[in-house]
Subunit: 290 residues, 2 copies
């Protein structure tokens, strides 16, 4: 039987998993993110104990993604201490002699959602996946391939028009101040209100301000890519929040281009329990084996 | 010898042209845009007098672009009187029994610029072409194919952050007011200053305001697509104007992602004399013949 492996590599934990031919998870382990040496060795140990035919890796970044570049397969200029210039893919390849696929964490999630939609019979040309959590990132799958030739998309760092009730907030992006990430990522709750987003009721007007910004991101995405679907994952993007984003989007769009019914267009992930990236990794591994 | 035809269909004029195997224009005629019946018949007459092996059409829109839809090949809901629901491609196919390619005017230009860059040996993954003239539109070529699954891109209608010296101007987009097109299209000069843009010196501060808006569009495009190149055509987008856009873009980007040197990244068209769409149509016709 053919099996596929997944490494979802995050700043706090690595999730390693084994899937069967139908891409169903059969085994999974969580490894805390410590040093590169220790963490990656534990991934190798896991897949030596649980052999797979191919491996998909979706990692925090920034990453070297250009196969023609000397930093291909590396975690490059990450602020995470000790992880700069880590030859992640190279170590895996030297230790596990199987086909591998390598992309960003959010691309992995995008590919998982694309795969899950296809299984439901949705004919997707283009799917965009945003994560809104510690940061804001996005991945784009177009006809089964990732977009982003000179590097992965960085749609967390677009500018949006400021909400009139939020003009005093400077934003928290170290590079841009009040770009999208600087205005809507999870830590903005602490910055604005002094408490965590999980504790802020959806009736708090801060959510309407956030919805205005996220709706602008969805509008930019729509006007640029005309995708079939925009998925929002991450801790901030609950269904209750998206219920505020949809009318804000409709108001900004003002009927200009036709999109699918908004409850099928601006959506939370199909794959439950934050499993999008693992499914995406399995599907990427399957493609790598072909 | 194989020859290729081009129809560049605009609201004021149609340009029909014949190109040779090297995609060089050998003959060209300009037909004023009157009624659909008269204008399209003159196109048919031209290609009956100048037979070609395949035809590329780049038209003003909006267009039916989905081959599976009943409005494929139509100019659909255009505001241009008399042209709503015109079966442009269908009439051409009934009259001229040759392979044809069909896309938007700005996609045609994008494909022409992509073709011209390839000929110069530029390895382009993704090219974006904006036109800033009567309106603002954009086309995207990714790996030789157009992006936009649910319809063509409408990047003229994204929102941008307002320039502090321009807050009194409401914008002129009938649908959105102060979206990008409502702030930077050619007619905004008359709306703001009471005179045509051609008469406004580049030292007028209005150009700095415009550059701030166009730089935001370039930034959104960069963060979303990570293209190899963004080409700006149309009457407003002179090299002198782009010299103002580039530093505004660099300031907004603040070094976050690496792009090519800006004088090779934010550029005017390679093809001279507004010829991008004709070259693109020839190249599309060549692909249609394959």
């Amino acid at each position: 039987m053919t099996t596929f492996g997944s490494i979802e590599a995050g700043g706090t934990k690595f999730v390693c998993a084994v899937g069967d031919e139908s891409l169903t998870t059969k085994d999974q382990t969580v490894i805390p993110t410590t040093t590169p040496q220790e963490t990656l060795q534990r991934c190798v140990d896991y897949f030596q104990a649980h052999p797979v035919n191919a491996l998909g890796i979706a990692s925090f970044g920034p990453l070297g993604l250009n196969p023609a570049s000397s930093d291909y397969g590396y975690i490059t200029t990450t602020p995470k201490p000790g992880w700069q210039h880590t030859d992640f893919l190279g170590l895996m390849k030297r230790s596990l002699n199987i086909p591998m696929a390598w992309t960003t964490d959010v691309n992995g999630s995008a590919f998982g959602e694309y795969t899950a939609a296809q299984r439901q019979g949705e004919a997707l040309g283009t799917l965009v996946y945003y994560t809104i959590g510690t940061g804001v990132g996005a991945g784009i799958v177009n006809d089964g391939k990732f977009l982003g030739r000179l590097g992965n998309p960085e749609m967390g760092h677009v500018y949006v028009r400021r909400h009139p009730d939020d003009l005093d907030f400077a934003g928290i992006c170290p590079r841009h101040g009040d770009c999208l990430e600087g205005l809507v990522s999870g830590p903005t709750f602490e910055a604005r209100l002094g408490r965590k987003g999980e504790t802020v009721s959806l009736s708090n007007p801060i959510w309407d301000i956030m919805a205005y910004y996220v709706a602008q991101a969805a509008l930019q995405t729509t006007m640029t890519l005309r995708p079939n679907k925009i998925v929002f994952g991450g801790s901030v993007a609950s269904e209750g929040f998206l219920e505020k984003v949809r009318p804000a989007f409709a108001k900004l769009m003002n009927g200009y281009v036709t999109v699918p019914p908004l409850e099928h267009y601006i959506v939370t992930p199909l794959v439950p329990n934050n499993g999008s990236a693992t499914l995406g990794d399995f599907a990427m591994a399957r493609d790598a084996l072909k």
